[in-house]
């Protein structure tokens, strides 16, 4: 068996639509420096480094090589993983496996993106099959709009339900100094914002951001030595089942259902709504904050609107979701899913500042990307 692994430090940049003051490498160094500060380590304590992003967003080939100065990786083992929108969680999982393998003790995992450097929609279009799917592919919003339309029809969910989610996450972001978009909004503001693609409106959707996040993973022995309260990794699960966009099964979010079912089993979780104390979820759009609650087994299919209307997922609710403000407040794509892991770790470590939930013992984080792919990680205050 491998090592148990804890997160001992997290750093992130102040995210924004455009960080003119920081090149990609400078953004990375900002996140890495802050993660080292957070863990009270220096770069010489780091045994190995993992990085990822979306290549065509900044047109950097071999980003692991290019980022060396920002990573502090010269004359160290450095590794690149990348899987599109789930890159951040893929980087996190890779950091975890590095430390769990016993080959490395202290591992720095870094995600970043400078979405301001290109036309994000054009870059996303290149993820469709160039011959058969690129031209009619309308980007991420199309499948999300479609699945929520069908969900509303099937279960009586409303546009107001997703607006409640949007207002919740956006107002949570007011407590997060790093968030890109920090603006108090009401449910009415969301409902009245311009329609992007029915039923998704402007304030339902994620922005594109410049930003970076760094998370430090350590083997059990090192984590105990270096950190008074590590966030222990309980499990990491990935499901990337689809090959073409047309393969999606609309009615549910099957990769999320399968990944979460597998992860709960591994982590011994039978009642996720009660057992988790906080969740940082990759919800690219507020409608996902409704429908995907079913797929995470928080309720029966169709049960999510009822929970949302009761305030179940608010800061003071039964299971607070996205105290950070989530993806609709901050979205530097290659870092986005790693920010979920970092924020969840801070909640467990008690370092989440103004967005801290009291007494977090177990936290759930997810990544989303590709053609509805899911990555998922469970963290805990106690050893697994």
């Amino acid at each position: 068996m491998g090592n148990r692994v804890g997160i001992i430090g997290v750093g992130q940049t102040h995210h924004a639509a455009k960080r003119l003051d920081a090149s990609g490498v400078e953004l990375i160094s900002e996140a890495v420096t802050r993660a080292l500060d957070d863990a009270q380590l220096t770069i010489s304590d780091i045994d190995a480094i993992v990085i990822g992003n979306m290549d065509h967003f900044e047109n950097i080939n071999y980003v692991d090589m290019w980022a060396i100065d920002g990573l502090g990786a010269c004359m160290k083992p450095v590794f690149k993983v990348t899987t599109g929108g789930t890159t951040g969680s893929t980087v996190g999982a890779c950091g975890y496996y590095h430390a769990a393998s016993g080959l490395f003790d202290v591992v720095l995992a870094v995600g970043w993106e400078k979405n301001s450097e290109s036309d994000t929609q054009a870059a996303i279009a290149t993820c469709a099959n160039p011959t058969l799917e690129r031209d009619p592919f309308a980007g991420a919003i199309g499948p999300l709009a479609t699945e929520y339309s069908m969900y509303m029809k099937a279960f009586g969910a409303t546009e107001e339900d997703s607006a409640i989610v949007a207002a919740r996450d956006r107002n949570n972001a007011l407590n997060n100094p790093y968030a890109h978009s920090r603006q108090a909004v009401t449910v009415e503001d969301v409902l009245n914002s311009p329609m992007l693609s029915y039923p998704i409106k402007f304030l339902d959707m994620c922005p594109r951001s410049d930003g970076s996040c760094a998370v430090i993973f350590a083997s059990e022995e090192k984590a105990k030595k270096l950190c008074p309260k590590p966030a222990w990794v309980h499990t990491s699960v990935v499901r990337h089942d689809y090959t073409h966009f047309g393969d999606l099964e609309w009615k549910f979010m099957p990769t999320l259902e399968r990944a979460s079912a597998a992860a709960y089993k591994l982590a011994g979780i039978s009642d996720p709504l009660n057992e988790f104390d906080v969740a940082e979820l990759y919800l690219p759009c507020s409608t996902c904050g409704v429908k995907w609650m079913d797929s995470l087994w928080f309720c029966e299919h169709g049960g999510a609107p009822g929970l949302i209307r009761k305030g179940t997922f608010n800061m003071d609710g039964q299971l607070p979701i996205n105290p950070s403000g989530g993806v609709i407040s901050t979205n530097p794509i290659g870092a986005t899913a790693l920010i979920r892991i970092g924020e969840a770790a801070w909640q467990i470590m008690g370092k989440a500042g103004g967005r801290q939930i009291e007494g977090v013992k177990k936290a759930l984080c997810t990544g989303f990307g590709g053609c509805s792919w899911t990555d998922l990680m469970i963290l805990g205050a106690d050893l697994p």
């Binding site: 004359m75 590794f79 899987t83």
Partner: protein, 380 residues
């Protein structure tokens, strides 16, 4: 520490302009690897794919091969780099205790893209990229620096090309088997001085899949004859800008090799290693890397090449497959080299079988001018 074995290998033939899609190549290699291991799709619990968005011309290059790689319903991830790094991640995932049997599959179609434009994008857009530098011209700078520092001759470089293309004559999967002389290499078209056409590896298409297994499933699923153990591994990266490095220096490779040797318990690589597959993207690289790996002193590889030490019938055969000079599917290259060593260690290398090797070394690189290295020790 838990032991991990390679229990199956599958490769396509390495060619130019292969008609198949990325997925069709991956399915061929992966089906062959499963068949070689004698296991079913359900014995596999996770997949590591290796590909590049730049070379494939597609963001999320792994999306194209999700079904073809046997990933449905399984944990999958993607390494962008040489195949040796993909195998390393496969091993880490097994050592973590989370997985038992890992598929590592890589695909590459060099003939579908323009190597110069794509490798130009490996350079910083804020500095060197505007000058038009690419993999070939930067390698030429490194070759000159290395030759100048150690007094290595162009003829010594040419010997590497003669040897490896000759070795490829015995490998039915290689793209460029050739019976050539030093004079042929010296007389080939000048590309970027001191490199000539026959100092450079060809653009190539192909795919390769390895099956890795933890000790228990390895012993349960297949016979002793099929198992080759991963005994040691190490990786390390040097600085990014060409001007930050002394390009003739192999310190990152030395560090990667030190890690791999320590893990495998190798004290004297020259004596303990029976064959090596070394990343010869260009002829000069084989000489530099042989030195960095500690098979000889710095600056000595050229002279030892002249003495035939690294020939097929020499003291330490290097690149018996024909190396990257005879087939260079960039993302696949490391797995291709690992597959060659597995076949050699099993005694299944056909016409190019060496005499009962016990220990093999595989070397992969990442980035320009061998910025980063991954070194493997494989054993019976």
């Amino acid at each position: 520490m838990e032991k991990v074995a390679i229990i199956g290998v599958g490769q396509t033939k390495y060619e130019r302009n292969k008609p198949e899609t990325f997925a069709e190549l991956v399915f061929e290699a992966t089906s062959k690897a499963l068949e070689d291991a004698g296991i079913s799709k359900d014995d596999v619990d996770n997949v590591v794919s290796v590909s590049s968005d730049f070379w494939d011309g597609r963001t999320i290059s792994s999306m194209a091969i999700s079904d073809a790689s046997n990933a449905y319903g399984k944990d999958i991830t993607t390494v962008e780099g040489d195949g040796t790094f993909g195998a390393l991640y496969g091993m880490m995932r097994i050592l973590s205790g989370s997985f038992g049997v890992t598929l590592v599959c890589a695909h590459h179609k060099g003939t579908e893209s323009n190597i110069k434009g794509i490798t130009n994008c490996a350079f910083d857009p804020l500095v060197e990229r505007k000058l038009g530098i690419d993999a070939i011209s930067s390698a030429a700078l490194q070759a000159r620096r290395y030759m100048n520092r150690y007094g290595v001759s162009e003829e010594q470089l040419a010997l590497v090309s003669v040897k490896n293309h000759g070795n490829a004559m015995r490998n039915p999967l290689a793209l460029l088997p050739m019976d050539i002389t030093v004079a042929d290499v010296m007389g080939s078209r000048k590309v970027a001085d001191p490199l000539k056409l026959l100092d450079c590896s060809p653009v190539t298409d192909g795919a390769c899949t390895l099956v890795l297994a933890a000790e228990r499933p390895a012993k349960k699923l297949c016979t002793n004859k099929k198992r080759v153990w991963l005994r040691g591994v190490g990786h390390c990266s040097d600085a990014y800008r060409l001007g930050d490095r002394d390009l003739s220096d192999t310190r990152a490779l030395k560090d990667a090799a030190r890690r791999a040797y320590a893990m495998a318990g190798i004290n004297d690589p020259r004596a303990d290693v029976d064959l090596a597959e070394v990343y010869d993207a260009f002829s000069y690289m084989e000489l530099m890397w042989l030195e960095g790996l500690g098979f000889c002193g710095d600056g000595e590889a050229g002279e030892q090449m002249e003495r035939g030490i690294f020939n097929f019938d020499g003291e330490l055969p290097v690149n018996p497959s024909g190396g990257r000079l005879s087939a260079h599917p960039v993302q696949v290259a490391g797995l291709q080299a690992m597959a060659e060593c597995v076949l050699q260690l099993r005694g299944e290398a056909g016409d190019r079988q060496l005499n009962t090797p016990e220990t093999a070394l595989v070397h992969g690189i990442n980035g320009m001018c061998g910025q980063s290295h991954c070194v493997w020790i494989l054993g019976k």
